[in-house]
C-alpha cells in the first residue's frame, strides 16, 4: 500500500499521472477536474479532446505534482500510475491498462473479483481496487453517475488528496443538496472499496511512453492516402461503416423484449432511432418482431415508452455487489 508520506515525497519532484475511463454522461471529465481542484499542489486535467456523445467511451487525463515546471507541460498522459474505470463494460472495449507501469493501480467500478479482472485485462502486475459504484450511485444519487464515487476509491489507494479536500472541491462546484449527496456517496465508497494487491513496487520515475506512440503507427501514412481530403469507401485503406461500431455498449440498460405479451404492432420498430428492433418474415409472409439488436441498442428507452402493452422492459447491466475472495491468489 502507498502511504501518505511516500506519495507526498514522490509529488515533490515527480509527476503523478492519472487516467479516467468513462462513458459520455457519466462525468469522467468532472471527476478528473475535481482531482485538480482537490489537490493541494499544481495540477492539470485534459479531456481526450474530441466529440463526446452520451454513452460513448471517453478518456481524461490528470497530472499532479508540487513542482510547477513538471506540470507546465501540456502533453497528454501516456503512462498513468492510477487508472479509474467508471463503467465495467469498458474493460472489454478499451485497453484500459495501456501504458500503465507495473505496480500501478487499476480502480474499477465493478462487482468482479481480482482473477476475473486479471483475465480480462491480461495483466497480473497491477494492483486492483474495486468498488460497486453503480449500486451506491443508484442508492444515494438516484442516477447511475459514478464519477465522484470512484474518487472515494482513488483516495483510499492513492492519498493524493484527503476526503476533506475533495468535499471542499465538491462544495465549490456543485449545488448544495447534490454536493451533500455526493459527499455521502464518497464516504461510503472509501469504506466499501475492495483492495487486491500485488507485491510490486510502483516506480514513479519510470517513463513508459513508447517513442512516437502519439503518431499512432499502423494507420495509413501520407504516402498511402490518395487525395488527402477525399476518402473513398475502400476498406483496404480506412475501415468504414458506423454499423461496425458497438453502440450497444453505450447504453445504461439492457432492454428486454417479452414475446408473449407483444402484439406485433411495430410501433417500437418505427420509433427506434438505431434500427435495433429486429423483425423477421414469418411463414404467413408478414413481418413479425424477432428481438432486440443488443450490438446497436443504446437503451434510449423510446421503445419502452411507446409500447402499448408493456412488452418491453429494462434491467440494469450490473449485478449486485460482492467482495468475493478469489480462489487462488493472483500476482506476478
Amino acid at each position: 500500500m502507498l502511504t501518505q508520506e511516500y506519495v507526498n515525497d514522490v509529488l515533490k519532484n515527480q509527476c503523478v499521472n492519472l487516467r479516467f475511463h468513462a462513458r459520455g454522461g457519466q462525468g469522467g471529465v468532472t471527476a478528473s477536474n475535481l482531482c485538480v481542484e482537490a489537490f493541494k499542489g499544481r495540477g492539470i486535467c485534459q479531456p481526450k479532446f474530441g466529440a463526446e456523445r452520451a454513452g460513448s467511451p471517453t478518456e481524461s487525463y490528470v497530472r499532479l505534482s508540487f513542482d510547477y515546471d513538471l506540470i507546465r507541460s501540456n502533453e497528454q498522459v501516456y503512462g498513468p500510475h492510477f487508472v479509474s474505470v467508471l463503467d465495467p463494460s469498458l474493460l472489454t472495449e478499451v485497453d484500459v491498462t495501456a501504458g500503465m507501469p507495473q505496480g500501478g493501480w487499476l480502480i474499477i467500478n465493478t462487482v468482479m473479483n481480482q482473477l476475473e479482472i486479471q483475465d480480462i485485462v491480461k495483466r497480473k502486475d497491477l494492483n486492483i481496487a474495486t468498488i460497486d459504484a453503480t449500486n451506491i450511485a443508484m442508492e444515494i444519487l438516484g442516477r447511475n453517475i459514478t464519477n465522484t464515487i470512484i474518487l472515494g476509491a482513488l483516495i483510499r489507494v492513492s492519498h493524493l488528496f484527503s476526503l476533506e479536500d475533495l468535499s471542499d472541491a465538491i462544495m465549490r462546484r456543485f449545488k448544495g443538496e447534490i454536493a451533500a449527496k455526493n459527499i455521502a456517496a464518497i464516504k461510503q465508497a472509501i469504506e466499501e472499496t475492495c483492495l487486491y494487491e500485488v507485491n510490486i513496487e510502483l516506480d514513479f520515475s519510470k517513463d513508459t511512453k513508447v517513442p512516437w506512440q502519439q503518431v499512432e503507427p499502423g494507420l495509413p501514412g501520407y504516402k498511402e492516402l490518395d487525395k488527402a481530403g477525399v476518402w473513398y469507401c475502400d476498406e483496404n485503406v480506412i475501415k468504414v461503416g458506423s454499423d461496425q461500431v458497438n453502440t450497444g455498449s453505450w447504453g445504461e440498460w439492457e432492454m428486454v423484449w417479452d414475446k408473449e405479451t407483444c402484439t406485433d404492432c411495430a410501433q417500437c420498430w418505427f420509433i427506434c432511432p438505431d434500427f435495433a428492433i429486429l423483425r423477421e418474415k414469418g411463414d404467413d409472409g408478414l413481418y413479425h418482431m424477432a428481438g432486440i439488436d443488443v450490438f446497436h441498442c443504446k437503451s434510449c428507452q423510446n421503445c419502452l415508452e411507446i409500447c402499448p402493452v408493456n412488452a418491453i422492459s429494462k434491467r440494469s447491466k450490473q449485478g449486485p455487489a460482492s467482495c468475493a475472495v478469489p480462489e487462488e491468489t493472483g500476482g506476478n
Partner: protein, 409 residues
C-alpha cells in the same frame, strides 16, 4: 445544471483567489471583470464556452452587458466593430472557419481605430478534412491586417490576456486578438489565480475616446479616391509604431498590480553550452519548459506578442546571448514551398544577423507534441552548418503504416 462553472464570478471578487478552471471559462471570467458593454459572438468549437460563460454571468445579473445573438461570425464582427465604434467596450470570440468568415470585416476595426477585443481558440482550417482540433490558423492569412495579437501558454495566461487585451486595445486604439491553443488550453483544467475586481477596474478605466456621435457627425470608412488612400495607410503605419512600447507599458502596469510578469519575449536557459534555442509560442512552450527540466543543453525563446512582432527585442536577445542556432517550432504549414507564417516572421527578423535556423512543422490538427519531437529536432539541428537546402520539415507524421517521416528506425 448541477455544476455552475461561472459561480465564482457571480459576485464581487474581493481578494486574490486561487481556483481551477478551463481556459474558456477563465476567459469568460476575465472578460466579466473588465465590464464589457456589448458581447457579441457566434459559437464555434473550441471557443464556445467562453461565450456560454458570459451568457451565464449576464443572465444571472452580475454583468450589465448587452448579450447579442447573431446569425454568423460575419454578423458578429460587424456588430462588434460598430458597437465598439459607438463607444461600447466590446468582446467577441471565434476560431477557424468562423475567423475566415469574419475576414471581410476584420480590417475595418483597424482602419477606424476601434479598441475591440477578440478571443481566438486556435483551431485548424478545414483542409484537407474537417478538424476541430488545434493548429495555428490565426497566423495564416490575417496576420498583416493590423490587429494586435498576443498568445497565451496556459489557462492563467489566457485569463490575464482577457484583461491585458482590453488595456492594450484602449491604450493603442487598435483592435487586439488574444489567442490560446484550442482544446489544449481552452478545454484543459488548470490552476489559476484570479485578480480582485477592484484591481481590474483600476487597470481598465473607461476612458473618453473617438466614437460615432450625432453631435460630431462624420463618415467612418467612406470611399476615398487615390488622392487619399495611401496617406491613410501610412497614417496607420505611423500609429502602429508605438504599439509595442504601449504593450510593454501595459505588461509592466499589470505586473505592478498583480505580481505576474509578462514581456513581449521571455527567455529560458539561453546561456546553454550548445548555444541553441527553441523558439515558439503558445502551449508548446510549457511542454518545452518541462522537457528542459531533464535537458539542460537547450534554451527557449517564448514569443508572447505575435503582432506587432518585437523583432528588435528578438535581435537583441540573440546577440546578447550569442545564440547560434534556432529551432523554430510551429503549428501551421505553408504548402507552396515557402516558410510557414510564424517561421517567415522569425526569418525576416533574423536576416540581418545571419543566425542559423530550421523550421519544424508539428502538432497540426491537434496531434500531441511530445519529447520525441523535441529530441529529434534538437538532434537534426546539431548537423546544421549553413542555410542551404530546405529550411522546413514536418515532424511527427506517418510516412507509411510502419514508417515515421524523418525518423530512422
Amino acid at each position: 445544471m448541477s455544476i455552475e462553472p461561472m459561480k465564482i464570478f457571480f459576485k464581487e471578487i474581493k481578494e486574490p483567489t486561487e481556483t481551477t478552471m478551463i481556459g474558456n471559462y477563465a476567459v469568460a471570467g476575465g472578460v466579466t471583470q473588465t465590464d464589457p458593454d456589448v458581447i457579441c459572438a457566434f459559437p464555434i468549437t473550441p471557443q464556445t464556452q467562453s461565450v456560454e460563460g458570459l451568457s451565464d454571468v449576464v443572465h444571472q445579473g452580475r454583468l450589465k452587458a448587452a448579450f447579442v445573438n447573431v446569425e454568423s461570425e460575419l454578423a458578429a464582427i460587424s456588430y462588434s466593430t460598430a458597437a465598439c465604434a459607438a463607444g461600447a467596450r466590446t468582446f467577441t470570440a471565434t476560431a477557424s472557419q468562423g475567423y475566415l468568415l469574419m475576414t471581410e470585416a476584420l480590417p475595418m476595426a483597424v482602419g477606424w481605430r476601434v479598441p475591440l477585443t477578440m478571443m481566438i481558440s486556435a483551431r485548424a482550417f478545414n483542409s484537407p478534412n474537417l478538424s476541430i482540433w488545434n493548429s495555428w490558423e490565426f497566423t495564416m492569412t490575417n496576420s498583416e491586417l493590423g490587429w494586435n495579437c498576443i498568445v497565451s501558454e496556459n489557462v492563467q495566461e489566457t485569463y490575464d490576456a482577457a484583461i491585458l487585451s482590453v488595456m492594450i486595445s484602449e491604450d493603442s486604439l487598435f483592435p487586439t486578438m488574444f489567442v490560446h491553443d484550442g482544446f489544449i488550453i481552452s478545454h484543459s483544467v488548470q490552476n489559476l489565480s484570479l485578480i480582485p475586481d477592484e484591481v481590474v477596474r483600476n487597470m481598465t478605466p473607461k476612458k473618453k475616446r473617438h466614437t460615432i456621435n450625432p453631435k460630431h457627425p462624420g463618415t467612418w470608412g467612406g470611399i476615398v479616391t487615390p488622392s487619399f488612400f495611401m496617406e491613410g495607410r501610412m497614417n496607420l503605419e505611423e500609429a502602429k509604431k508605438p504599439v509595442l512600447g504601449i504593450m510593454e507599458d501595459v505588461y509592466k502596469r499589470f505586473e505592478k498590480a498583480t505580481g505576474r510578469q509578462y514581456r513581449s519575449i521571455r527567455t529560458f536557459n539561453l546561456d546553454n553550452p550548445s548555444k541553441t534555442a527553441f523558439i515558439t509560442m503558445g502551449s508548446m512552450c510549457g511542454n518545452i519548459i518541462s522537457y528542459m527540466t531533464k535537458h539542460k543543453d537547450v534554451g527557449l525563446i517564448k514569443i508572447k506578442t505575435y503582432r506587432p512582432f518585437p523583432y528588435e527585442d528578438l535581435q537583441k536577445i540573440i546577440q546578447d546571448h550569442n545564440i547560434e542556432k534556432l529551432i523554430i517550432l510551429e503549428k501551421s504549414d505553408a504548402l507552396n514551398g515557402l516558410l510557414p507564417p510564424f517561421s517567415m516572421t522569425i526569418a525576416s527578423a533574423l536576416y540581418p544577423l545571419g543566425t542559423l535556423f530550421r523550421s519544424f512543422i508539428v502538432g497540426l490538427g491537434g496531434r500531441d507534441v511530445t519529447r520525441d519531437e523535441f529530441d529529434i529536432a534538437k538532434k537534426k539541428m546539431e548537423t546544421v552548418k549553413d542555410m542551404k537546402g530546405p529550411l522546413y520539415s514536418y515532424l511527427g507524421v506517418r510516412e507509411t503504416k510502419d514508417k515515421i517521416h524523418g525518423v530512422s528506425k
